[in-house]
Each structure stands twice: as structure tokens, then as C-alpha cells.
Subunit: 145 residues, 2 copies
DNA sequence: GCTATTAAGTTGTTATAGCAACCAAAAGGG
DNA sequence: CCCTTTTGGTTGCTATAACAACTTAATAGC
């Protein structure tokens, strides 16, 4: 039995990720909200007025990506970006009324999404899946050194 | 125990995918080869002269992505794109000498990459991981209807 | 207090991904 | 044989991701 690159676990993870992303993207589409930008709103709904840098740390994303997502969220009218008076390098993100209201529509969709994804998968299986993904990340990170 | 969106399995799959992608990207960097473009070359090394449309089917990617990756591979001098005489709509991709030679450097890296990723994971665990990922894809696809 | 370093954001570039609209060639139906 | 439909590719646009280079503001060392 020949193992082609198509069988590589990394390819399967990638394809799964793409499918998940396009699925949630379609669900959010009616609200003019992109999936990753949603993560920023999720954090702002919990705690309004975070700086971009705080979002970089919480979401573990590149600062350039956060900046562009924030800029897009502002263009769409979901947030306002205000320069922080205590540290004028920083920018704080504040929800607009529209941004606040969006939560009541989006959060149920996110929860339903997670429910659909996990359907028919037991707690133990889910833990095992998470454990194996963590093992893979660990393998990669170890070989970076 | 509160479940925040950060705990969603989809987020963990996404982060794992990003880490895998950036890892293999760094490995291929010295050869001026991007990870997804590598998949096209992998198929051409097995069977030179495939059309873009055949690659679309084999890689299950959008035709626009294949077209742009092919165009990039041509700019980099790894392939030539030749209009198919039998069907003048089609474009066949042919490896250049450089493209052919690249295989002997790249294939071992891809195999080592897979070995690193799977390190410390048993056959059974790997199957279980693949099974659960397939289950998730199935869940998503079922709810698309 | 001045200078060197660090930190927060921005801009530019490349790669990936997906959608819509389009063009040209091929295939089908009468 | 002509007209309609389908098919293979391209172009344009948006979103995500990562890296490099840059600006400005804050901080540290002296």
C-alpha cells in the first residue's frame, strides 16, 4: 500500500480546516461578518475596549492581521478605533451600537456551529482528538529548535 | 467549567493547520517553493503534462487557485504552460528541467515532514485521528443540505 | 536629560482560498 | 449547420496569514 502525499495527516487537517472555515463563513455571511473578524468581536463582547496588542496576545495572531481585521470591522461599522490617551502608541477597539447588537445573532450561530461539528463525537473522542492535535503541534514546535 | 470559543475544536484544528503550514513553508523556502504549489509539482513528478483542470480535480481546489499557483510556478521557472492542441481551452503543465530536478530535494523533505508530524503517534492513534477528522467533515457536509 | 532600545501599529508583498463575472472553445440539439 | 449550453481558464475582489521594513511613542541606561 503506497502512501502518497494525499494521505499525509497534514493534508487531511488542512482540508478539514478549509471545510470548517467555509462553513462558518457562509453562516456569518448574512451579517457581513468574516469568521476571523468574529473572534475579535467575541473578545470585545466579553470585554469592550481592548487594545489591538491585547488581541494579538489573546488570539495569537500577527499584529498586521489584527490591524487589518480591526480596520475592516471599523469600515463595516461594528467598532470604533480610538487612540489610547495613556499610551499614544496603542489603539483601543470599542464596539458601536451595531457591533454590540450583533452578539445576540452571532453567538447562537457560533454555538450551533460547534454543536454541528461535534455531533456524534463523544467527550472521550473529542479529548483524544484534542490530545492528538496538541501532540502534532508539540512535534512541530520541538523540531523548530 | 465555561466553554469559550477558544476551546472550540474548530479553533484548535485551525491553529494546528496554521502551524503545520508555516513549518513546511519554512522548510521549502530555500527552494523558493510554496507549500501548495508543491502539491502541483508532486502530481507532475508522478505524471507530467496534466491539465489545470485535472489538477483541480485531483487537488480539490478552486480553478482560480490552480491557475494562479500554476502561473507562479511558471514565473519561478519550474513549469511551462502549453495550450493543448486537441482542446484549445485546456492548458497542460510541463515540468522544466529545473522543475524535474527539484523533486530529488523536495520529496525527502516532504517525507521527513510527515515523519516529524507523526512522531510518537501510533498507527491506531493516527487512524483514530483521521476517523474523527472525517467525521467532522461529514457532519459539516451533512448540514450543508 | 539624552540616547539607545523596545513596543504598538501601519504599509507593502507573497501565498492561499473562495466567489462572481467573464471569454473562448467545444459539445449538443434541433 | 446554426444556436444554445457546457467547459476550461482568466481577472477582479475579499479575507486570511506571515514576514520585512518603517514610524512614532514610550522606556531604559547612563
Amino acid at each position: 500500500m503506497k502512501l502518497t502525499f494525499q494521505d499525509y495527516i497534514s493534508i487531511k487537517i488542512h482540508k478539514t480546516d478549509l471545510l470548517l472555515t467555509s462553513f462558518i463563513k457562509a453562516r456569518f455571511e448574512p451579517y457581513n461578518l468574516a469568521p476571523e473578524q468574529n473572534l475579535i468581536l467575541m473578545l470585545l463582547w466579553e470585554h469592550d475596549g481592548l487594545t489591538q496588542n491585547q488581541l494579538v496576545e489573546k488570539l495569537e495572531k500577527d499584529k498586521t492581521n489584527i490591524a487589518r481585521m480591526a480596520s475592516s470591522l471599523e469600515r463595516k461599522g461594528f467598532i470604533k478605533r480610538i487612540q489610547c490617551p495613556e499610551d499614544r502608541r496603542s489603539v483601543r477597539l470599542y464596539l458601536t451600537k451595531r457591533g454590540q447588537e450583533l452578539g445576540s445573532s452571532i453567538i447562537p450561530i457560533a454555538e450551533e456551529f460547534n454543536e454541528i461539528v461535534c455531533r456524534g463525537i463523544s467527550e472521550d473522542e473529542l479529548f483524544e482528538l484534542e490530545r492528538l492535535l496538541a501532540k502534532i503541534r508539540e512535534n512541530v514546535q520541538n523540531s523548530l529548535n
